[in-house]
Structures are given as structure tokens and as C-alpha cells.
């Protein structure tokens, strides 16, 4: 078991009313799962993903990640946990515009204790694996959307995470590029990486092994 969420609530108070963003979520994810979270806009998909990624906190409930009780952990320890085990992929890629492809992929390693030689080897591996060695000195603005997302995924994978969280990874891509990215995810999953993605597309959801449907913050 990779993570387990029990009776989780998240809410905001607005004008005397309590609005639930996440309402009584129960979820267990095992290593090797490929889960798709679906639901209409505002149903809490991204919020759930951020909670899983420990970028966002919640008001009530339990969340155990690799048997660590996240809900009782201090901020700093929590940060160490996600740094170590989780990689993020975003809809709008979120590459740093001022850094090259190479440097973007290298960035997470800078915040870990990694020697310069190690970093070089790891980034070179990743570039190789994704077939973008020739593009390593280009800046994000010089790449197509699909290529940018490829770099985004490479960056997420560089630290060898157990879990990839992807927030509509193909949302800004055309159908062909989207398909390529989904195939890549499938392949990563086959290699043993656990993946949770948020998606609007029925077709993309079929790549996964499980679908969670959210409506108004509740699993249906």
C-alpha cells in the first residue's frame, strides 16, 4: 500500500456557510496503480490531487503515506516526504522560462544532495530516455507544447519518485501530442511507477486501471 486516506474533509467558510471542497474522502492507492480522477469543473479534482501531493492541507481526517501519518507531520517533514517520493506534472507544464531544457530537468537535483557529476549523469540519462538530447540547450519557448510536457515529465521523474501526480497533463495539447504523453504514462506505469492523473477525457481515463469520479467534493 502506497497511501491511504480516511474520512478526509476540507472546507472553507464563506459568509457564514461552510463550503466543502472535499467531503468524506476514502481512498487507498497501492503501488503500481494508475488512477484517473474525473469529474466536472469545481468538483475538487485538483484539490484532491494537491492534498495527496501535500501541497495543500485539509481540515479533518487521516492521510497515511508509506505508513507515515501525514496529518500529524510537521510542515518541514512533510516537505521532505513529498520531495523524496512524489513528482508533479502540470497542465501548463510550469517550466522555468529562463532555464534551458537541461537546466529545467536538473533543478530538482539542485535541492537534493547530489554531486555535480551525479547530476550530469542523471540528466543525460533522462534526456536519452526521452530522446531530447538535441534539444537540451533550447529554452521552453522554443519547444512545442508536447515537447514542453515531455520535459515536464522528465523533470518529475529525475528524482525517481514512487508516485507521479499529473493535473490534466494533456489539457493544453492537441490529440496526437496527448496520445504520445498518455502512452508514455502507460509505459512508466508498466515500469512500476504509481500514477494519479486528473483528466476530463474519457479516452485518457481508459489508460488507467481505476477511475475515481468526484462530484461536489464527494466520491461517487
Amino acid at each position: 500500500m502506497l497511501l491511504e486516506i480516511k474520512d478526509l474533509f476540507k472546507w472553507v467558510n464563506s459568509g457564514g456557510n461552510r463550503i466543502f471542497l472535499l467531503n468524506d474522502i476514502e481512498l487507498t492507492v497501492n503501488e503500481g496503480d494508475f488512477i484517473s480522477i474525473m469529474g466536472p469543473s469545481g468538483s475538487g479534482k485538483t484539490t484532491l490531487l494537491n492534498v495527496i501531493g501535500m501541497l495543500d492541507d485539509f481540515n479533518e481526517g487521516e492521510y497515511n503515506f508509506l505508513h507515515e501519518p501525514v496529518h500529524t507531520l510537521k510542515e518541514k517533514y512533510r516537505a521532505n516526504l513529498y520531495k523524496e517520493y512524489i513528482g508533479f506534472v502540470f497542465q501548463s507544464y510550469h517550466l522555468i522560462d529562463e532555464l534551458t531544457v537541461y537546466e529545467n530537468i536538473e533543478t530538482p537535483l539542485l535541492y537534493k544532495k547530489c554531486s555535480s557529476a551525479e547530476r550530469k549523469a542523471m540528466v543525460a540519462d533522462m534526456l536519452d530516455r526521452f530522446n531530447i538530447v538535441g534539444k537540451k540547450d533550447l529554452f521552453p519557448a522554443q519547444l512545442s507544447g508536447g515537447q514542453q510536457q515531455l520535459v515536464g515529465i522528465a523533470r518529475a521523474l529525475i528524482t525517481n519518485p514512487k508516485l507521479i501526480l499529473a493535473d490534466e497533463p494533456t489539457g493544453n495539447l492537441n490529440s496526437k501530442q496527448g496520445e504520445e504523453i498518455m502512452n508514455l504514462f502507460k509505459q512508466l506505469n508498466d515500469e512500476g511507477v504509481t500514477i494519479i492523473q486528473v483528466t476530463h477525457s474519457e479516452k485518457n481515463a481508459t489508460y488507467g486501471s481505476r477511475i475515481i469520479n468526484l462530484l461536489d467534493g464527494r466520491i461517487v
Partner: protein
């Protein structure tokens, strides 16, 4: 890691050229001001500190209660026997010396005459002051009554490369023997001299009178002596030696450390070339303000731009950056920016140093590599500025929540904009205060120059007479000059009407000393009133037809007549006691015999036996030819080099420090205004960019371009206007303070404020307008698509 930070900072710099330019340029200007002014401040505080024993050297000054002269009753001139007596009677005084500043005409080996300023001093002089001797013995050098010590450069001027020691040199036609050569004095010596000769030939000194105050007295105190203790011993000393029932003033002696002499002000007959502490503090204040303004620009722009960098920060946090690491990165970036500005500032500094030197009247040098402490100080300063201006934006950026940023929420807190507005208000307030101050100083200067003085100062050439021989033959020279067609009239006198600097006491003849009147006194010739167009209200001018005029004829001014209880008409023929019984033959209309800082005081004018200045009224035609003529005939009478000055220049010189203040304020108000507008321009650019979406939506909903512009400029306009309103009372207080130093002054008009207010609105409009127009004319489809 560092390389990565550096790379991203560097690339950001080139990507955002405008922003980088404003930040680096602004900081460079701030740093330049600070560096120039700190050079000046370091120099000012270094005066006389190179003397080995400077901490123990003090001088004695005195206060003469009731002898108010030129607005002060403090005097630097002391009686001749004081130094010797102190050394003999006070165990605290290890050494004491007396000297006098005198210029002298010196004959060089090449037979030319040069005029140099130097001292006449007691042999103990070099026990108190310790300039480096190149040859000769400092302790014995002045023991011979005709001994003289020259500076190296003066020695070279007189003797060339020949060894000077033991040679004879002619000063004012007397022979002196060179008993020593000293190294040239550094710049930071309070009073300068090119030679020191024995005081044994000074008549005033030889009289050794306790009631005759004409010399400077310095001494060395024993270690740990409190000057206050010494001061408490003076009354008894004066009781013992100076007691003389006829001496009119009650005087009190004070001890002043040598290191304070450079800054002490308002002492009559003080040593020349003095610092000005108020001016120095004003400059230091301005330096800090400009640096602060530039730092504020940096802060405001960095925070405003953090929106753009928020994605980067969010990402760095998601991939594992801790808050401290983000903080480090952004602090590092601002330190990098400040270092780049430092390089620019160094270049600017060496370019502007000559102009600045002229402004502060110093010969400052800018040589980083010889002054290691200054260099390290600068580097420390740059770190400090980098940290101060970078910490707020860095803290702000580092505390952004990644989940929020990456969700696309923009980090705009209302509190942040409050702070930015407060910072901008502060910047503009400082600028407006300086601008208003500058305008008022300018108006007052204008007022002074246009005020009716009671005498004419145009087309009058002033020539000093230093030669006794010339003073005896002055009438011959006057006749020669007056025969020239372009010379209208010539007068000789003891004091120019611009500043009459001697005063005395008279009595209106009823033997009641209560009625003593302190009165300024100048001695003149028959032409004085005509040359300066001084108007007679009653009576007559001095005339050759009245033989008694030379002895007992006096002309007084209106104020003196009033003080003596007479109308101008009544005064004629009245008598009073001065050296003898004197008669009033005329009353002149009051004229400004001092600067506008002072009231018009009672004045009496008498005929001179000896005069020391010549005033030549010339016609403006062929001025250079006239001057050549004056110089040529002057040289027939005296070996002294021909020197002249125009009276109106000399008049302006009285307001030199006021002019200087005006100049400084106007320079720095421009810099401050420029920096503030720089910042506003940058901020407007960033905010317009942030509001792209809002503008787009509004345009789609039908807002006109004008409405958009009002939306974009209105807020800034409000901020600047509030700054202006706040500047009004603060500037008013400062200006009242400054104008309070003038007896004759302008009143502050509302026009100044109105003009500044209109200027404020215009500046805002021009600064923000460009960005606003750019924002207003963008096609909304374009701006909405970016989301």
C-alpha cells in the same frame, strides 16, 4: 546551485531590460551620491588628525559679553602674554604657543615677487604643531628673531633646487634666515601656511599687553586633563593679570579641542578655511535619502514583478526548495544587482568628482586602491543595500504557497499594495520637499540680488593695498587713474560698504556711560559717498574746504542718529565723544553694510589717515583696456602683484554658502525626483501588465480608451498628490528655519506650492501616461487570450 541562481538572475536581467535598467541605474545613482558625500564626510572629519598629539592640542577662545560684533561675541584673538603665562602657571599645560596669520611679499631668486600666506609664531610653535621637517631643527628653528621655516614647495619657488637651509630670504623688505624646511601640509589642515617666521618683529606682540587681543593661542594639555578644569582656572588668572578698571568688557575664556576647530562657527577673527557642520549633515542626510529612494524603487519593482516570477518560485518549492533556499536565491540576486550598480557608480563617481569638488570647495580624490578601508566599507555597504532592498521582496516571494501559485492564483495581497503606496508617497514627499526648498532658496537669492542696498555695486573694481609705500602715495596714484577717460572716480577706504568690519564705542557727551553706543566705524576719503552713490539725508559730504573734517568731522547713518535720539536734520552739528570730541557733519541714508543675514546697525564714517583698499568706478566700455591700464600704473608704485575683484562678485561671495545650499538642493531635488519617477514608471509598467486582463474585460464591456487611462493613472495621481500635501507642512518648517537666518527675507508665497502641485500632476501624467496609453490601446482579444 549558485551557478544556477546566477544564471537565472543574469538571464532575467537581459530578458527584462527596462526593469534591470531602472533597478541598476537607480541604485547606481543612489550609490554615487552616497559615495561622493561619504568621501567629503571622511575628509571633513579627518582635519588635523594627522598631528601626533592632536587629541591633546587645544586652543583658547574668549567671549566678550557686551561686545557683540557681526552677530557674535566670541573671539579667537587673544592677548599676547597668555600662552607663556599659562605654561608657567598651569601644570596641566605642557606647551603653549602664540601666533598670527600674515601674508608677506617674498622676493625669489629669480627676482620676482610672490605673495604667500604664513604665520608669525613663538619658538614653541613646533612643540605644539608637528609638521614633518625635511631639514633644520624644529625646537630651535624660531629662536632666532629672524628665523623662518619654509614649506618644501615655497622653498623650491624661492631657491629652486638649491639647498635653502641657512640662506637669506627677503620678506616685506626684511631679511630672514631659513632655519628649517618642512614638508607641504596635507589638505586636511584647518589653517594653512607656507612659512612660519619668528614673531619677534610683530609690534602688537612685543607690547605684551593683556588688553590687546590680536593673536591665536594653542596649547598641549597633559594626558587626561579635562578642559573644563582648565576653564575654571581662567577667571583667577584674568583677575591677576588683566585687571584694569578702564577695560570695558567682561571676558570669559574657553578651551576648544583642535579637532573641533574645523567645524566651530560664529567666532570673530577666526582662522581661515573652515568646515560647516550643518552643510555636512545636510549632505549626509541627502546621501541617505537618495540611497533609500533607490532601494525603495528596487523593493517596489521586485515585489510587483514577483507575479511574473511566482511560477518559478512555486515550482522550485514543488521540486524541493526550502523557504530559506528561495530566500537565499532572491537575496543573492539583489546583491548581484547592487554590485552591478556599484561598478556603474564607481564610473559615475570618478566622472562627477570634479563637479562635486567645486560644489563643496575641496580637492577630494577618489582612489579606491590606496584606501583599503574605504573599499571594504563600500563592499560592506553594497551588501547592506542588497540585503535591505532585497529582503522584503525575497521574504514576500519565499512565503508564496506553491499550491496557490500553480493553480493560477496571482499573489496580489491588498496589504502589499498599501506598503508600496506608502513607499511611493515617501519618495515623492522627499522630492517635493527638496523642490519647494530649492525654489524658495532661489527666490531668496533673487531677492537679495535685487534688493535696494543703499549703495551701487556695479562697475566698481576693488584693489587691495598691502604696501605701506603705496598707502603713502595713494593720492598720486588716484590722480593718475582719474585722468583716464574710462575711469569715473576713485576712492580709497578702510572698509567696503558691503561689509564694515570694525566697531567701537561712542558716548553722546553727557558723561553717562549708560548711553554708550556700540557703533561700526569705517574710514574713507572725499570720494567715498560719490563712488558708491550713498545718499545724504542731511548735512554734507567731507570736503577739502573744511580743514576740520579730517580731524573731527563725522558722517553717521540714519540708524545711528535714531539711536542717539536725533532726527537726521537735528543731528547736524551735534557732538559726541570718540577719541576726542567729534562733530556730526552729515547723515546718510541707511545702507546694507553687512549681509542680509544681519540688521543694519549704527555706523559712523570719518576721514582716513591710512586706507587699505581702493575702489575704482569704471565705465563699462573697454573694460579690459581699463584693467590693463590700472594694473600697469599700479605696478609702477609697488612690487606687489596686481589683484582686483569686482564689487558685485565680492557681494555674491558673502552669500556663497547660501548659493551653495541652493545649488546642492536643486541638484539633489532633481536626482530625487528622477529616482522617484523612475520607480513610478517601472511600477506603472508592471501594474499595467498585471491589469491586462481587467483592461481586456472592461474594453469588451465597452469602456472607452479614455476611461481606461483614467483607471490606470488615477491611483498613481492620488498617491502623488497625497505626497504633495504631506510635503507642504514639512517643507514649510524647513524653509522657515533657513529663512530665519536672514533679517531681510521674502515671505513664502502660495504660488510656489501651486507650481509644485501642478508640476506633480504633470510628472505623474507623463510618467504613468505612456504605460496607460499602451495599456488602453491594446486589442482586448490579445490580452484575454493570454489567460
Amino acid at each position: 546551485m549558485l551557478r544556477n541562481y546566477f544564471k537565472i538572475a543574469w538571464r532575467n536581467l537581459f530578458k527584462q531590460k527596462l526593469y534591470a535598467f531602472i533597478n541598476i541605474g537607480g541604485l547606481a545613482i543612489g550609490l554615487t551620491c552616497f559615495m561622493l558625500i561619504s568621501l567629503y564626510a571622511i575628509h571633513e572629519f579627518s582635519y588635523d588628525k594627522h598631528f601626533e598629539n592632536h587629541e591633546n592640542v587645544h586652543r583658547v577662545i574668549q567671549q566678550q559679553k557686551g561686545n557683540e560684533f557681526l552677530n557674535s561675541d566670541f573671539f579667537a584673538s587673544m592677548p599676547a602674554p597668555l600662552a607663556k603665562t599659562m605654561k608657567a602657571e598651569f601644570p596641566e599645560v605642557i606647551e603653549a604657543t602664540t601666533f598670527n596669520i600674515r601674508t608677506a611679499l617674498i622676493k625669489t631668486n629669480g627676482q620676482d615677487h610672490i605673495e604667500e600666506s604664513g604665520l608669525m609664531a613663538e619658538p614653541s610653535f613646533f612643540n605644539v604643531f608637528t609638521p614633518e621637517f625635511i631639514s633644520g631643527n624644529p625646537t630651535t628653528a624660531l629662536q632666532k628673531p629672524n628665523g623662518i621655516v619654509l614649506t618644501q614647495s615655497l622653498s623650491e619657488k624661492i631657491f629652486g633646487v638649491t639647498e635653502a637651509l641657512g640662506q637669506l630670504v627677503k620678506l616685506d623688505n626684511q631679511n630672514y634666515e631659513v632655519t628649517g624646511v618642512m614638508a607641504d601640509l596635507p589638505d586636511n589642515v584647518t589653517f594653512r601656511y607656507d612659512f612660519v617666521r619668528s614673531i619677534e618683529k610683530d609690534q602688537e606682540y612685543l607690547r605684551q599687553k593683556w588688553t590687546n587681543n590680536s593673536l591665536n593661542v594653542f596649547m598641549v594639555l597633559a594626558d587626561g586633563v579635562n578642559p573644563k578644569v582648565l576653564e575654571s582656572k581662567f577667571p583667577a588668572l584674568l583677575e591677576k593679570y588683566q585687571y584694569d578698571p578702564s577695560y570695558p568688557f567682561k571676558n570669559k575664556y574657553f578651551v576648544e579641542p583642535l579637532t573641533d576647530v574645523h567645524f566651530s562657527a560664529n567666532i570673530n577673527f577666526d582662522l581661515p578655511k573652515k568646515g560647516n557642520k550643518t552643510f555636512l549633515y545636510l549632505l549626509v542626510f541627502i546621501a541617505c535619502v537618495t540611497l533609500l529612494l533607490a532601494s525603495i524603487n528596487y523593493m517596489n519593482l521586485s515585489v510587483a514583478r514577483s507575479v511574473k516570477r511566482s511560477v518559478e518560485v512555486g515550482l522550485r518549492k514543488v521540486v524541493g526548495a526550502r523557504k530559506e533556499q528561495i530566500l537565499q536565491q532572491f537575496l543573492g540576486e539583489s546583491i548581484l544587482f547592487t554590485f552591478l550598480s556599484l561598478i556603474l557608480a564607481l564610473a559615475l563617481c570618478s566622472m562627477l568628482l570634479p563637479i562635486f569638488n567645486e560644489l563643496v570647495e575641496r580637492d577630494l580624490k577618489f582612489d579606491l586602491f590606496t584606501d583599503v578601508i574605504y573599499l571594504f566599507g563600500l563592499i560592506a555597504l553594497v551588501f547592506l543595500v542588497g540585503v535591505v532592498s532585497g529582503s522584503y521582496p525575497a521574504l514576500f516571494i519565499a512565503s508564496l504557497k506553491p499550491s496557490q501559485i500553480l493553480k493560477g492564483k496571482r499573489p496580489i495581497g491588498t496589504s502589499r499594495f498599501h506598503l508600496q503606496k506608502i513607499l511611493i508617497t515617501g519618495q515623492y514627499m522627499a522630492s517635493f520637499i527638496l523642490v519647494i526648498g530649492g525654489i524658495i532658496v532661489f527666490q531668496q537669492m533673487q531677492f537679495i540680488q535685487n534688493k535696494k542696498l543703499g549703495y551701487t555695486k556695479d562697475h566698481i573694481v576693488i584693489i587691495p593695498m598691502k604696501d605701506w609705500k603705496l598707502r603713502q602715495e595713494i593720492n598720486t596714484l588716484k590722480n593718475i587713474w582719474e585722468s583716464h577717460t574710462n575711469i569715473i572716480k576713485v576712492s580709497s577706504m578702510s572698509n567696503l560698504p558691503t561689509s564694515i568690519q570694525s566697531s567701537t564705542i561712542i558716548n553722546d557727551n553727557d558723561d553717562n556711560s549708560e548711553n554708550d553706543l556700540a557703533i561700526y566705524h569705517t574710514r574713507v576719503d572725499y570720494n567715498y559717498l560719490n563712488v558708491f552713490d550713498i545718499e545724504l539725508l542731511a548735512g554734507r559730504n567731507f570736503s577739502e574746504d573744511f580743514g576740520t573734517d579730517k580731524e573731527e568731522g563725522y558722517i553717521i547713518n540714519e540708524t545711528a542718529a535714531k539711536a542717539l535720539g536725533w532726527t537726521p536734520e537735528e543731528a547736524i552739528g551735534k557732538q559726541f565723544t570718540h577719541s576726542g570730541t567729534e562733530t556730526v557733519i552729515g547723515v546718510v541714508k541707511d545702507f546694507h553694510m553687512h549681509s542680509m543675514h544681519m540688521n543694519i546697525e549704527p555706523l559712523m564714517i570719518s576721514m582716513a589717515k591710512w586706507t587699505n583698499k581702493i575702489a575704482v568706478k569704471v565705465s563699462p566700455e573697454d573694460l579690459s583696456e581699463t584693467l590693463t591700464f590700472l594694473g600697469d600704473s599700479y605696478s609702477d608704485f609697488t612690487p606687489y602683484p596686481f589683484e582686483y575683484q569686482f564689487l558685485d562678485d565680492q557681494f555674491d561671495a558673502m552669500y556663497k554658502s547660501d548659493f551653495r545650499l541652493g545649488k546642492i538642493i536643486s541638484y539633489f531635488s532633481l536626482i530625487a525626483l528622477f529616482l522617484a519617477s523612475f520607480g513610478l514608471f517601472g511600477l506603472a509598467a508592471v501594474i499595467t501588465e498585471q491589469k491586462t486582463k481587467e483592461i481586456g474585460v472592461r474594453k469588451v464591456l465597452g469602456a472607452s480608451e479614455l476611461r481606461i487611462m483614467v483607471l490606470l493613472t488615477g491611483n498613481f495621481l492620488k498617491t502623488v498628490f497625497i505626497a504633495f500635501l504631506l510635503a507642504i507642512p514639512v517643507s514649510w518648517i524647513f524653509i522657515q528655519q533657513w529663512l530665519g537666518d536672514f533679517v531681510y527675507r521674502i515671505s513664502i508665497g502660495w504660488e510656489v506650492y501651486l507650481a509644485t502641485g501642478i508640476g506633480a500632476v504633470m510628472i505623474t501624467f507623463f510618467t504613468v501616461g505612456y504605460q496607460a496609453i499602451k495599456g488602453a490601446i491594446t486589442n482586448p482579444i490579445k490580452s484575454l487570450k493570454t489567460e
